[in-house]
Symmetry: C2
Subunit: 268 residues, 2 copies
DNA sequence: GCGATTTTGTGAATGCCTTCACAAAGGCGT
DNA sequence: ACGCCTTTGTGAAGGCATTCACAAAATCGC
């Protein structure tokens, strides 16, 4: 959240430049984009449960955010709600889908087929959410040539060729830290413009390339910090231990807590 | 990042309560905490390369952030730099380590041993960064009882018992979405106060529990959005297509670009 | 010693995001 | 047809976070 949004600043930086050229029709804030994926998931679940319309209040509850925030987020997409009624699930689903650019079933390359890479290769969530893994790449001789999920693992030396042939713009890097920058450079020179990086290294990329980092150990460390605060020092906050000790950093009064089940049947 | 920092709002909310009660000694901003892990990694790498001191400028470069930000972040920990010289790597490493609460080698439970769970179980990064996986839990009969990485997989019905015995405060949830809330409830009632959630669901927890979510599909969707913006729509902005099309978002003169390699020998 | 030089630590300014609060809009009952 | 009630969409306010820019501190060369 937290965390790995750091590198994305590479993107956030130019926000203003963009708005100079033209407000396009939507210069959606970074924070909003990050939440759209969550809304989309909730909407799809609702749709599958036969829910036809949903209020900002209940969708917000399902997504774990405050309803004002949700409405503002959605307002960047346009005006797809009906006052006094709510949002039509199918319409909103389609809008977010389109906004995120998911209508084109994007081709993704996965580099690195260690434990994590193999898990990612098998992750059903990618396929079901608009992405198609269309290239598996590794450097290890034992892996190259083997078949996995219907694809043949290619050697990293053929990366350029494969990326170009499959017209891949997004790559997932799951190689050891020591190899990550090299792989990244190859990807960039092959034309990849977006990288999801699982290697614990900061990748160095030209400005037109976006990197998002998922750092598993860092996530735990952040939790550790908060945990330390909570249980940790009962020395300084004797009374707060009760109210804050646990609640610590944050609970939105309305938002999170036990989500009001909302009138609409909620999926899970 | 952005991304999954959403649920942490559950945490962020009470921030004020805390500051009311007491500024403690350091009310470190959430954004800073998230970056400390990155600094820590860079520092450890540098330490292993024999670097003794480092300037804010070069450490910032290694971490991919602006040096002013880095200095401000570090200033929340106290004053550990020497003007005109920089920071002593060992001192700073130790400070951050302590601040993040990593000195106690925390016990972590891992629930769910599907592909992803098994990959996580084998992830060396956890052990090397202050965490010890001390319980493996799953519901599948085929897995329960098998040994993995020196641990016997326990049935989820024994979760409460195991968590209490091992005194576990942090859990990693890698079960299917449909099972996540149930597992989460059990964890919370067993006393877990921090959860790292890989299941694509919003978890519902009481205010004293922190949840961080890692949503792989969402990360890709965010990249997809930006990619769409970049190469994407030549339809609406005939002229912007040129300026935005390729260089698009990036092009910021100063910011990210190719990070200056910094004078200090950089690890990787 | 002492000035030149480097680099930290931090007030102040700016900008982004969230939250509040309410007017406008639309359905529904009568 | 008309007012009531619900819920959206959004200006305005407030809070964080980032960035700027510079004074204070400390080393180094002479």
């Amino acid at each position: 959240m937290i965390a790995q949004r750091e590198q994305l600043n590479a993107v956030g930086e130019h926000a203003d430049q963009r708005s100079v050229t033209a407000t396009d029709q939507r210069s959606i804030p970074e924070a909003t984009v990050a939440r759209l994926a969550t809304y989309l998931r909730a909407l799809i679940d609702m749709g599958e449960c036969g829910v036809a319309t949903v209020s900002s209040e209940s969708l917000a509850a399902a997504a774990g955010v405050n309803s004002a925030k949700l409405r503002k987020d959605l307002s960047y997409l346009g005006s797809y709600g009906v006052r006094g009624v709510g949002y039509e699930v199918s319409v909103l689903t389609e809008q977010i889908h389109k906004t995120l650019g998911l209508h084109q079933n994007r081709a993704v390359a996965l580099i690195g087929l260690g434990h994590l890479g193999q898990a990612l290769a098998g992750y059903a969530g990618f396929a079901s959410r608009g992405f198609r893994i269309s290239a598996l790449i590794d450097a290890h001789p034992k892996l190259v040539g083997t078949r996995l999920r219907g694809l043949t693992v290619q050697h990293v030396d053929r990366l350029d060729e494969v990326v170009k042939r499959e017209n891949i713009a997004i790559a997932v890097v799951a190689v050891p830290a020591a190899a990550a920058q090299d792989v990244c450079d190859r990807l960039v020179s092959a034309g990849v413009t977006s990288i999801l990086n699982f290697a614990p290294t900061v990748l160095n990329v030209p400005p037109h390339v976006d990197v998002r980092k998922v750092d598993l150990a860092a996530e735990l460390q952040i939790l550790s910090f908060h945990d330390n605060r909570k249980a940790g020092r009962p020395d300084c906050l004797p009374d707060a231990a009760a109210s804050v000790g646990t609640g610590a950093i944050g609970a939105d009064p309305a938002a999170i807590t036990a989500k009001p089940v909302s009138k609409v049947a909620m999926a899970r």
